[in-house]
Amino acid sequence: MAGYLLQRLVQAVIVVFAMSVIVFVGVYAIGNPIDVLIDPGATAEIRENLIRQYGLDQPLWRQYLVFLGNVAQGDMGTSMVYNIPVVDLVFSRLPATLELVLVSVCIATLIGIPAGLYAGYRPDSVGAKAIMALSVLGFSVPTFWIGMLLIMGFAVQLGWLPSGGRGDEGSILGLRTSLATADGWSHVIMPAINLSLFKMGLLIRLTRAGMVEAMSTDYVRFARAQGLPDRQIVFRHVLRNISIPIVTVFGLELGSTLAFAVVTESVFNWPGVGKLIIDSILQLDRPVMVSYLVLVVVLFVLINLTVDLVYARLDPRVRLRGEDA
């Protein structure tokens, strides 16, 4: 198990390193940020100074090495737009995004998995067909359009919920979060539902497919031949089996929820990192883009690593092979 873990860690580091190069080079190719940042009327001297200040006169590989060295010291550069350290900027926005992702993932799971189980258990029932139809909508209708409808309906027409932004912060267990206040919840609920729909649709389909397949396996038939009631077959035999693919996909989708937060945050004007990256792309704020992308890659790799480990825990076939090795 330790060897397996080490191997996965080395892989993870290589991936992060490779991605940081790709992202850095890729982002470098975008225009010349100075043109955007500096008043066209500025003197050539000011221009030169600024270019030197941001290190834009250095060759690309040099800039990358400087970047890498700074990163090692926890310095990801300074935002060209906000003029504050990028690390501070990203971390000031991160809690809002994590809040949103957390709530939406909970909604998706609490609704998606039971709905999928039901749809797979009674695949021909009217309820199952309705659930499946909704799941198709959930992951095929673009997120931003549903978000917009939600705003039109619940904020503009009905006036029940605020149309955007993040609510008042409170503190739970020393953590400052908007989830501690009623105002915070009224702000987070609509974007969270919006963000959860895609994942919910996916979870429903995945759980249903697993359920349908499991119900026709021999071990389920064998369990039925032993007189086990369906409830026990579903919860003790089937759930354990289909939890493996569900956890895998769930974990991987956690990363994509983080990425799709970009869209939801833009629609609901949610002050998280997703909105930050869109703004920084539009304003060519290079250090912010690079840091965001590197941060997301690191999160991704961490999530993948966790998924692998959980997978190994859940499936005895993988787990025991790991122990033998």
Binding site: P142, F144, W145, M152, G255, A259, I278
Partner: protein, 316 residues
Amino acid sequence: MTNAHADTATTTGGTIAVPSAAPRETRADRWRNFWADYRQSPVAVVSLGVILVLLGVSFGAPLVSPQDPYDMAALDWMDAFLRPGTTGSGGYVHVLGTDNAGRDMLSAIFYGLRTSFVIGISAGVLALAIGICVGLSAAYFRGRTESVLMRIVDLQLSMPAILLALVMVAVLGQGVAQIVAALVVAQYAYFARTTHGAATVERSKDYIEAARSTPLPTRRVLLRHLLPNVMPPLIVVATVQVASAIALEATLSFLGVGLPLTEPSLGSLISNGFKYIHTDRTWLSIYPGLFLMVTVVAINLVGDQVRTVLDPRRSR
């Protein structure tokens, strides 16, 4: 319980019965069978019809739309923000109203739909072609080529498409070609993975080994033997990917990093309408959104049914 050639011709004692050979299934038969199975779902048939109609009005947009939304000269500021059903200065009814520039929404939607289809289909076809090449090469050459290629594919698959597309658009800039490139980069990996998966299963079967042991060139083995057998799952992925390419393009345009409003796609139309979301001018965002939704959902439903029909595990 299944046996294709069931009819046996035996008369009386002693003679050996010869089982009649199963009739060879022609291509036309396969299509007919496919259609007979496909037709089982009325929803899927309606969806297919909807897609055909939408393709018709979008590619025939210059013929069926009352106005050319690209022609700035034809726009009249006096016509701005007309409600759906109002008659404008052009003397015809704006069924879905007009936007802030006096553009007829129905025309803009038809043209926008065309842009969306062009982008979605070309991205889907390109991604399919590239994905097949990558997947087949990996499956065929094995060894290091396979592990390197599939490692890259897996890595890309673990990154959400929206993120890859954002980076690509940020790097390449705006425009139809750039968006298509971004979508291809974001999506080819699905095809590569599917091709590779199906091809790995197929290559372990005897007929591929048999083909490899004959002096046929590699290319022929790949194209004539492997490809036809990996097509069914690819068709399913392709349908779904065209839909998601259309949705993704709309999302990028909505975020302001896709197509500019001068080249209306459904996404940029909705994005424009979003500005007026707090007013009562909801037609600006609702109608293009409805078209987008119907398009994407219909394609997905068709894909679903194709998947069901092609599923080899389904009892025939």
